[in-house]
Amino acid sequence: MNARQKTIGVWLGWVAFLLAMTAYLTHRWRGPDRTAFLPGPTSHGHYQIELACNACHTPWMGVKEKACLDCHGAELKAANDSHPKSKFTDPRNADRLQVLAADNCLTCHKEHVPERTRAMGVMLPDDYCYRCHQETVKERPSHKDYAFNSCATAGCHNYHDNTALYEDFLVKHLDEPKTKSAPRVATRALLAFLNESERWPKKPALTAAEHDAPAPVRADQETLHAWATTSHARAGVNCSDCHLVPDAQSKTKRWSDKLDHTACATCHKDEVGGFLAGKHGMRLAQGLPPMRPALARQPMRREAAHRELSCTSCHGSHEFDSRRAAVESCLACHNDSHSLAYKNSPHFALWAAETKGAAPAGSGVSCATCHLPRQQSATDGVTRVLVEHNQNANLRPNEKMVRSVCLDCHGLGFTLDALADPALVRANFTGLPARHVESLDLAARRLLETQSKQTKP
């Protein structure tokens, strides 16, 4: 081979290699597994959907400005966000934005940089409040000894959600007992709501003999019994009401044995919406296959590794037992210290008493009581008690739980102390808080000072 032939050979080889790489990468890009393109691991908040690049990225890998608000906007609005973008768009804040561009979520919350990401997905050092609030230590003598890295970590302030922490709220809840007398959570009245909102008409209850599964399908005795003895048959929901689903192309209804969350959404739109917004259903919301415990970063039971998360994985597929969904379904997968400690906790003792009939309805505390709480909601012009299926809406920072969950049964001071004690949280609230959040003391002191100023002659 002469030198010229060698040169041509090298060039051809190189071009062939480039074409092969292009073909391979294009194939990977188009295929279901895009992990080759991840620039770095994602945070605990987003790892489930890290392969749905389009959820956050524009076609040329910029970050969509509205990517964050598409999922988190409604929650921030409901929480009366203390630092919304609108606070920073006025030109008078231009100098502040040069110190910290607080008008953009990405300033504090970047993905794919785990080496820099800290608690709450924040990339800034803990004393970021200092950049705009230096005057606080001068204006609030009570705060003069507080370090700036304790603003958001002491249980007193959050950057976004201060609905349970603002001063007037603290004043309203001073001197409350640790546990209120006769605490209860709200009762659901799901069927009454479905009738009133006209999502499901009033129908007589159905018996097993009245099922309308077509002959080729013919449900077995166990399935019929499960359906006939539980809530759907009681409400007059027959087999065809769920199993006849519109065909994707022709839109005509066809029997399907395998249903997904869209079947439930006909009546349970709000619950399904919450499910899709939280950690259980966020993959489905992005068009990815359902979540499985094997994919989770939290400790999960090995025997549950390949179970797919959907409505029926917690609720069952014909017996729809919401009591089972409140505890046993959770513990069938979750294997972390908080979950493992639940059955030894005073909360579980109350739940066991309620389920046995030894305590009033609403007095027990299941996993769902705290993590999928019952909340007043107005839907279709009807007020109702809705079970919030977005378990992330009450998760981190855990002060989000105060008003939606803890205050149903406990006083504010005790609640804040308990939530600020990570060891107590891990032990599933077995024992008393070993930490004390001072915010109520400060609020009480300032109330006294104001009152004494006002009564001075």
């Binding site: 040169t7 090298v10 060039w11 190189w14 480039l18 524009t58 040329w60 890998m61 910029g62 400005e65 009366n80 919304p84 609108s86 768009t89 006025d90 030109p91 008078r92 231009a94 100098d95 934005l97 040069q98 005057e135 204006e139 609905t163 603002y166 007037d168 709220f169 300032r446 104001t450 006002q454």
Partner: protein
């Protein structure tokens, strides 16, 4: 490395860098919002004056016909800073601020806000030199004269107007005088309590 190999490697590296740079820099930037020019025939001052008249009238109507009437006269509902939690009416200042935020979201080119030398929330103290001078000017003039100037913020030039914000109702005055965070507790009816700041980009 022989010369053809060097050319090969360099050529590929150059091409790759060019593609990489284009991808990083050229294709992602969103279009910057363009400020709407003022209507033909209006000077910035006239536009600011017109905007202020609308804002202050709307707020005065809300203060007198809603808050003062229902809270202070009929006593059927209170106005409260935490109006959602307490199922109360928003305060007039909050109504004004929520309007300003709604306007800012639509990005019509101008911004406005409510500031004071004696604010309940320290974040509403004047920050820029124009704001400080303007608020002092309108307070000293008893609300009779407006303040106009130009200023540069974040590298952009603005026409800034400051108008006196007057306590038009006892609802304004008594609430501020009785608030634990208010630095002044001696406001009187029709006294200048702060200022409305309107900015138009030049």
């Amino acid at each position: 490395m022989t010369t053809p190999h060097k050319k090969l490697v360099l050529g590929t590296a150059l091409l790759a860098s060019a593609v990489f740079a284009a991808g990083l820099t050229g294709c992602n930037k969103p279009v910057a919002p363009v400020a709407a020019p003022p209507p033909a025939g209006f000077t910035p001052r006239q536009m600011a004056d017109g905007l202020f008249v609308v804002m202050s009238s709307d707020r005065a109507v809300y203060t007198k016909q809603v808050v003062a009437r229902l809270q202070n006269e009929a006593k059927v509902i209170k106005a409260s800073e935490h109006f959602k939690d307490e199922k109360a009416l928003p305060l007039p200042a909050q109504m004004f601020r929520m309007g300003a935020e709604a306007v800012a979201e639509k990005n019509p080119g101008f911004t406005y806000g409510l500031l004071s030398l004696w604010p309940i929330n320290k974040q509403n103290m004047p920050k820029t030199d124009a704001e400080k001078a303007g608020l002092k000017f309108v307070a000293d003039s008893g609300g009779k004269t407006n303040f106009y100037t130009e200023e540069t913020l974040g590298g952009k030039k603005y026409f800034t107007a400051v108008y006196a914000d007057v306590g038009v109702s006892m609802a304004c005055v008594s609430c501020h005088n009785g608030h634990k965070d208010s630095p002044r507790t001696d406001f009187k009816l029709d006294e200048v309590m702060g200022g409305v700041v309107i900015r138009l980009p030049l």
